[in-house]
């Protein structure tokens, strides 16, 4: 009898322990109410406030701007998160040949297979947001909000929001796949370093290029002039890439701008069908 009750007790204890383990691992970090000191400490951080859009620093010539964006050996290939935005603002491309991500044979084959389908468009034509890393390279502005324990990026394109937790919480070991992944950040001097893991298979590493569930993105945000921010983005994916893929983007602060809404479904007349055929609806 004693043995039996001990057995039940052990079972109960084990069950409770298992529940507790599950709860701890599945539950997000518990946020605390910020202290006055933590609010005061915000004033010492670099001023990321305001609305930013990809562009070239005022007065900087195109070539210099592109060289400045290229950041040495960093590949700036087609599909680089920085490419389109910089190209849009500058109306030009970097001088060197586009390098792009260096893919493993398996992922090079996947890209070739996807490209060979000849799709005229992708699901963004149907208003599906691109997710990471593409969402950070849209030709629309974004706003940085700094609060104790968190950096929030309000992205105008598709009306999206990223949450980068700077309260010391760890990255999840087994994250649910998400369009933006799950991000934590820390300040290294005046640079915000964000690490992101756990991406939805519906997002792509670059055009026609899937990623594995091991993709990890490191972003380094820093002010390089009063209204100029440099964002260095490194994509690691041991299954898809033979080397980390780094690109750099310049954001310009527009003090006279506010973020607007972008409800893609409001009046979207473009579409792409399952076969990849693009179309436009004049009647709606």
């Amino acid at each position: 009898m004693t043995d039996r009750s001990f057995g039940y007790t052990s079972l109960l204890a084990a069950g409770l322990a298992a529940c507790a383990t599950v709860l701890v691992s599945a539950q997000d970090w518990k946020t605390k109410s910020p202290t006055a000191a933590e609010w005061a400490a915000m004033a010492k951080l670099p001023d990321f406030t305001g609305v930013w859009e990809a562009g070239r620093p005022p007065g900087q010539a195109a070539a210099a701007g592109q060289a400045g964006n290229a950041q040495g050996a960093a590949p700036r290939g087609q599909g680089a998160p920085a490419q389109g935005a910089a190209g849009r603002a500058g109306g030009g491309r970097a001088g060197g040949a586009p390098a792009g991500p260096q893919l493993t044979p398996a992922y090079a084959a996947k890209r070739q297979e996807l490209a060979s389908r000849g799709a005229e468009d992708n699901e963004t034509a149907n208003c599906l947001p691109p997710g990471m890393p593409g969402i950070m390279g849209q030709p629309y502005p974004m706003e940085f909000l700094l609060t104790p324990g968190k950096v929030t990026i309000v992205i105008e394109a598709y009306t999206q929001v990223r949450h980068i937790y700077t309260d010391g919480r760890p990255l999840p070991s087994d994250p649910d796949p998400k369009f933006f992944g799950t991000s934590v950040g820390k300040w290294e001097g005046d640079t915000l370093v964000a690490e992101t893991v756990g991406f939805s298979p519906l997002t792509q590493l670059a055009a026609n290029t899937p990623h594995s569930d091991k993709m990890r993105i490191t972003e380094r945000f820093r002010l390089t002039a009063p209204d100029v921010m440099t964002v260095d983005t490194t994509v690691n994916d041991p299954e898809a890439l033979t080397a980390p893929w780094t690109s750099s983007r310049t954001l310009i602060r527009h003090r006279d701008w506010t973020i607007s809404e972008y409800i893609c479904e409001e009046n979207n007349r473009n579409y792409v069908d399952a076969a990849g055929k693009a179309g436009v609806k004049l009647d709606k």
Binding site: G79, G92, A157, A207, N268, N270
Partner: protein
């Protein structure tokens, strides 16, 4: 001079569209330009029937007189209102009843409409993907 400026504005607008489209996953203003014949530019004169100041793109509907009488409504897709509003083109810049000359990349399927390259008002105001310029 005006013509040169017009071409420049057009080039900037198209470059804005195209370079955006070249980047990752979709950096375009949300879609590709596969439905438009980018090798062709057409021009028509008409009267603004309606302006959809909406995301993800503004749509300008223009009534164009037909040779045999009556008119046909063309639809032109522009940039997003967010993008344009920051560049001098507001919700009320183009209004119903205004006469416009529209330069556009036609729809490949031959339907009446296309990608707006520019809309020019009798006042000389030129509206492009890059905004409004006098």
């Amino acid at each position: 001079m005006v013509r040169r400026f017009s071409r420049l504005a057009t080039a900037v607008a198209v470059a804005a569209f195209l370079s955006g489209n070249a980047a990752p996953v979709s950096v375009s203003a949300h879609h590709s330009f596969a439905v438009f014949d980018l090798t062709t530019q057409k021009s028509i004169d008409g009267t603004v029937k309606q302006v959809d100041w909406t995301n993800p793109h503004v749509w300008i509907w223009v009534d164009v007189p037909k040779a045999d009488g009556g008119s046909e409504t063309y639809g032109f897709e522009g940039m997003s209102p967010n993008f344009l509003a920051r560049r001098g083109w507001s919700r009320t810049t183009l209004q119903t009843g205004m006469k416009v000359t529209v330069q556009y990349r036609p729809l490949k399927d031959g339907k009446p409409g296309g990608m707006l390259v520019s809309a020019k008002l009798p006042t000389g105001l030129l509206l492009t993907g890059g905004g409004a310029q006098q």
